[in-house]
Symmetry: D2
Subunit: 497 residues, 4 copies
């Protein structure tokens, strides 16, 4: 047993079956009763409903914790405890990330994994009221609803486990506690460490303001800090003795601007000058550009990223300065999976949305007044399910480290209406909804859709096979790329640097 690997509990070097399950595996193997689908779904949905109040409360506790990436200690511990209590076996500290964990149940194939996140965002602290009112000004808040994400995924896992138990369903179910999605690329290190290497299908969801299947998409992103080092000099007395790091940063910026015309249309490159000199009468010996580059296509981004590195090097040549590139983050785009999307869409439609009650409506209408939108969406949105969308690289999109998982395992996701329709993520409006009943109701929709799809996968080998075939097709001729250097450890303090 390799003590150095936190995954040793789960994986032996040679066999695919996690070691810790080996002794008990015989108890359940291959005894799944063939319950008719409709009845199975109904029973599973009841299991979700039964446990929903408990996990809604868990979601609220995590909302109260509001911990930033890689420091989600209390949130991670709470989820681990609850999953242990529900009968899962937990391996903590995966991939050198103290708050990453894997909770597993069952044995054998298929291995179905559900992703859970729980990190908050800086500065988005907010009461559960429809006007801007932070609990503590400047403090973190769950403006992306990851409190719901982690708890809802766990609710799905627990309900599914109960059903597996009851019906002796074979196969392995896992919950992946994945830290630091927001800029910390937590899952990338887990992928690198092999945490997903025996998984057959990954299910995930994300809070949103409508109900939909999310089949591929998002933007691949790479980010880093480009720090230039020059030579300080008195800018009035002897500017000729100085070598300006700020000049380098500005010329790098210029270079990036000139590059824009010559990259594919939907590429995004955006940056700030995070350090631009200390005093105007000193030639700056230190300057820094904090930059992100994105593309709907991971492979395109690889080329773009290499070009940007060359621009930075060019800037050093132009200015007699030196460069270091640090804090590299990287999320891949999400690979679509059409058979999984079809199955997911069917299940989401079966679950349906939810109708807001009078109090929720009052809250929502009040909150919508704070939007600066021409056409505020109807509150009925929460009660509808969008038709399955075709992947469109031109749609505005954000980024997530779920992408990196999806380049390694067939992956499908859901979006559910946890935010008041019209809300954008990363806003106080999202924080507010994520802490109260609207968010919690949307979370249950997600848990149900995940549980149903998980059950389909556990009981229908052809669906798993179709997912794998499509994965091969979608990734044919392309290979997974992450800009994160092989020797870079998870940036545990990226939020405080």
């Amino acid at each position: 047993m390799d003590k150095s690997s936190p995954l040793s509990l789960f994986f032996s070097a040679k066999v695919r079956t996690p070691l810790w399950l080996a002794t008990t595996a015989a108890l359940f193997a291959a005894t799944a009763a063939a319950q008719p689908l409709a009845g199975a779904h109904a029973e599973l949905l009841q299991l979700v409903d039964k446990d929903a109040p408990h996990w809604q409360q868990v979601s609220r506790q995590i909302w109260d914790f509001a911990e930033l990436g890689y420091h989600e200690t209390k949130s991670s511990d709470l989820l681990q405890e609850q999953l242990k209590a529900a009968g899962f076996k937990v391996q903590a500290g995966v991939a050198n990330e103290p708050t990453a964990f894997i909770a597993g149940y069952g044995e054998g194939e298929p291995v179905v994994a559900i992703l859970g996140e729980f990190d908050a965002l800086p500065g988005l602290s907010q009461q559960t009221v429809p006007t801007r009112d932070p609990i503590r000004a400047g403090a973190p808040g769950h403006g992306c609803g990851h409190n719901l994400l982690g708890a809802g995924a766990a609710l799905a896992a627990v309900a599914l486990k109960q059903y597996m138990d009851a019906h002796h369903i074979a196969g392995t179910l896992r919950y992946y506690g994945t830290p630091a999605e927001e800029g910390g690329s937590g899952k990338v290190y887990m992928v690198r460490d092999g945490a997903f290497r025996d998984v057959d299908v990954v299910l995930h969801w994300h809070p949103d303001d409508s109900n939909a299947v999310s089949n591929g998409g998002e933007l691949a992103v790479v980010s880093a800090k480009f720090t230039f080092h020059g030579v300080a000099a008195h800018a009035a007395m002897a500017p000729e003795r100085g070598r300006s790091a700020l000049d380098a940063a500005m010329l790098m910026g210029n270079g990036v601007e000139f590059m824009r015309e010559h990259v594919p249309s939907n590429t995004r490159i955006h940056y700030i000058i995070s350090k631009g000199g200390v005093a105007p009468n000193v030639v700056p010996d230190l300057a820094q550009i904090d930059l992100m580059a994105r593309s709907p296509f991971n492979t395109t981004l690889k080329d773009v990223w290499e070009w940007i590195q060359n621009i930075a090097k060019g800037a050093t040549l132009m200015t007699g300065t030196t460069l270091d590139v640090s804090g590299i983050g990287s999320d891949a785009n999400i690979v679509p999976n059409d058979p999984l999307a079809t199955a997911a869409q069917k299940n989401l439609q079966e679950v349906g949305g939810y109708k807001m009650n009078a109090d929720q409506q009052k809250f929502a209408l009040e909150l919508q007044k704070t939007f600066k939108m021409d056409n505020v969406p109807s509150l009925d949105t929460t009660n509808q399910v969008e038709p399955l969308r075709k992947f469109d690289p031109n749609q505005p999109a954000a980024s997530t480290d779920v992408g990196d998982v999806s380049w390694n395992v067939p992956t499908i996701g859901f979006l559910t209406a946890t935010f008041v329709p019209g809300s954008a993520a990363h806003t106080w409006q999202a924080t507010a909804a994520a802490g109260m009943s609207i968010g919690q109701q949307g979370m249950v929709v997600a848990a149900k859709a995940i549980a149903l799809t998980g059950l389909d996968l556990l009981t229908d080998p052809s669906l798993v096979q179709a997912a794998k075939d499509d994965f091969k097709k979608q990734t044919a001729g392309r290979s997974y790329y992450t800009a994160i250097p092989a020797d870079q450890s998870p940036p545990l303090n990226y939020r405080s640097e």
Copy 2:
């Protein structure tokens, strides 16, 4: 009588004689005894020597206070008290600057003014030891030796007053307590407020690492913060909705770089990006350039400054942003005065420098080890007086608000060796020397040279006249310019903004 003016004590609207002296003027008027020059100088030098220990102690107290610009309350109070005790009448709070003051003695013409400064510099706290060792890390320190400057000027004033007293010399002697020379342009507001309007000649000095007359020179400087305001937007989702303030700052920078070829050779323009965006995934709606422009010629600088304003405006046009320019500082270059320089040189040579004792030498040699210089100057430098230098606009130079005084009144200055030879101003090495006997001895050299020159002016009307004639010649066809807007108040909190 204009009640709004803090100068009302000194000036009536119509008469040139300060009111507060009117009652006592008759006592001394026009009774100056015609003592032969050599004897007069000797006697005056003795008076300086007598009071030197007291004012050296004052300089040390101010060194201990180490107060930043416009907040030199204790330093200013101490100087005021001591000058009052010596028989000067003091008017405090001049030109809306709480720590500015004028201490006056005597009556009638000529009016000879001596300038005193007393502000410290941020971050230069240092023990009086020859290795880097702050009293309090990050705290202010007298790295430009203004503790010596203010005290030494007062020593000159007090000795001269005693001599005037003893010999019934007519004329008016003033000490100007001038705050915030370091970036606060304190004297500019005093000039604007008319504080120098009846002065015939101004004498000043500055700590340095050698003994010399300073006849004109230094660079005119203008500085300001250019703040651009744009429209924030999610940089990945909707960059087309953003208008980037950082783009404006960068284009302003580019514009300035392209400008460099087309301004006179010794123009200096240097800047930092003091605010360059907050997060790379948001189009920055705020960015700031903190910029200084300098020239040996005030008039050239005016054109340069107008051009820079146009560049900033051009950057807003290019980016759909808006601009505000704030925190404008401005120092003029120093107008030379050749007759005064000749007189000053003669006196400085009469005073001579000073020879370091064994302890001072040990300290100095130790401290020189911290210089990164190829040719460290000899310690004998402190005992020498440099020949009168011709003004050379190509010499490296700094800036001072003494320049603004010099565009309005004939002005001459001294540099004396208060720092260990080879020291640069604005360093911990300068702070160290300014707090111990080396600085204090150099200070006495300055006080003596000022006192002698003051006496020459008080007793030789032809010198005053020659100074005035030369002033007219030097400024013919050019007019005083300050970039500080007429309605801008002294930026009392510029150090904390």
Copy 3:
């Protein structure tokens, strides 16, 4: 009759019916025999086939003329003569363009117009051989196949006129001879002059390498020369006296690069520095940027264009230079029309493509060897018709002044395979095919599709109405925009400037 208008022959100030038809109108009015559609189409196609050889010869003559924009005198004259000979009445010199003309036949509504172009491109002279071999090096050539365009459109018009004649079809048929499509915006001035004001539907086509209906699309474009004027000076002796026009051009370029991030994704802005100084030892007093901006949306382009003007102004402010903007060209994007597209698709499919004979295949295969392509398309392409494509703003596209017509009249177009599959327009390969049987066969396909669609429009008022209704829908809330100043005359010498 307003003598100043070249359109006076066609339009009276008050009535919609062209005056020149008024006397003969009674002969045909409203006597159209209701021939069954299938028979009608078959007969009309025969009429096209009958006259095809003649017009193929005309196309070859224009190919031999190879005249540049606004100087297509021989080409225009030839087409006018032939149309007159076929019974059309011709008005020449429309819209102050000497080579523009309108050929009309028939009377009353609907007014159906067919567009014909005939300008060549500089430098694309080429023999009808499959390897690069200019007739005259550097001379113009029909690299966009407009010789086919103009002749094919006339073939359609003449055949349709014969059918109208034979069957007493009411309505007005027009052929618009439109010069200088390649960068001269010839149609924009015709639109401005009202030449299309009574037209109900416009039909057009363009040579291509496959057969398809072209429903909307292309990029709106604006182009202009930005000329900066500065002050020359010896760059070594007195650069401070110079004001660099080149600096202005470079800063305008920089400004444009910074702008790219903040315009919609499919905007295109591209430029050259057409004048960048004469000698490196002189500060340039003249510099010029020749710039084009494009967008799938005319309205977006308007905003972009205004921004670019501001960037140019900003560059003058930054450099103390002045600016003039000249040679403004402007083409709008093409407004789609779905009912027309459906009708056009049906007809194109009815016509079908054509199969190359052995000689053509030999030529084509030889020519395809000169392509640097990974996947050269099959020669069967000429025999296929593409399914109706949905408008996609993200598709690569070029620009045409047909766009300006389409913002004023419902418009539909065809592309037919006149070039060897895989050819790009504006190449010698295109010139070669346009001068021989491949191009001429593709031209007949276009003529037939136009003729059939024209007949549909002349005989089916509901199709005309549907086209008009859809036009209203497609342009609702948006208005036609051209960047060409109202007082700018057609730039008759734009090719020689």
Copy 4:
């Protein structure tokens, strides 16, 4: 004997005495009569006056030829013939420059060389009239007066030779016919080829608008064409496939602008964009910057030039383009020589200037009206000699390949008033004066001053020694630098490229 060297006629591999003189040397060796200085000077001046009309006519012929650099065939031939006729032995085609030659007379040490130039400037054709009136518009003209330079230097050489002859003065006298001073760096290749390796002192002069000794100065200059190569692409259809050479040129320009702050104040860098793209709808695959860099100090320029190369390389990295640097020109600054300057000043004062006659004055006053100057200098200037100026690196200056000679041999020069006072070089006004009596009279002043100084050198070994000693001092610790690559041949067609 190395047959490959055009200098073989002059130099053996081992002995310093030119071979061609070896046979006749004995005739004159060491028999110089010791004529008293005053008489010697008077006699020599008469010799100059005697031959002046002839050489003035030669100067006019060369003015008529007006040949550009490296193509001065007729001018060079004429001078060679005349010098041969006067008894000089001529070696043509020196240093692979067809129009370079060395004319020699005498034997042994010292070797005194006089420089002659004869190239014209493009576009400066002008009649000898005081208003702009070209002989042939656009044709070359002697706007720098090199027709006078070459003829005047020959006049000095011939007169001195006659004096040497008459008085049996030992030593070697040479005339160097040096082509392509204007941008062709003709002398640099001659220096490189060893043409000056046995010379003791070099004398030269240059037409100007006043009479003065020129002791050092001028700016070292390096120039080159930076050509960037990218990848063309349709700028609207596929800009992402293009790599823009223009972007590289613009970023190189930006880099140079940012560099300006960090080079010594009197550095000059100036450039044009000589190729900036062909059509705005094509991503430019070719762009070119034509750049010159200058400094009063050759050594500074070396660093600057290396930096500029790095900027160009940085621009390629930033844009994915490639670079070639071609057409490198390089002139060094002129090393001062104080003993020679003192001797030269004495002689120039002895010669004095000349007073314009009435016709010349009329012409001059008329021509001065075309100046745009505030203070036009007096016509008396031609009759005055300026006091010896101290070298001032801050004075505006131009560049010359005399500099390269001066880094290898002690060198001194004269400026004489050949142009109407107030004229700038490289103007039609200079061309006009260089073709008529004003220029021709100034030329004789130069010839006399050179002849006298040459005689001093030939007869006073201590002056030669002092010149050599000072040369060592002035160049101590610095070494000659040329940016011209060792394998670059003279760019014989640089004017037509």
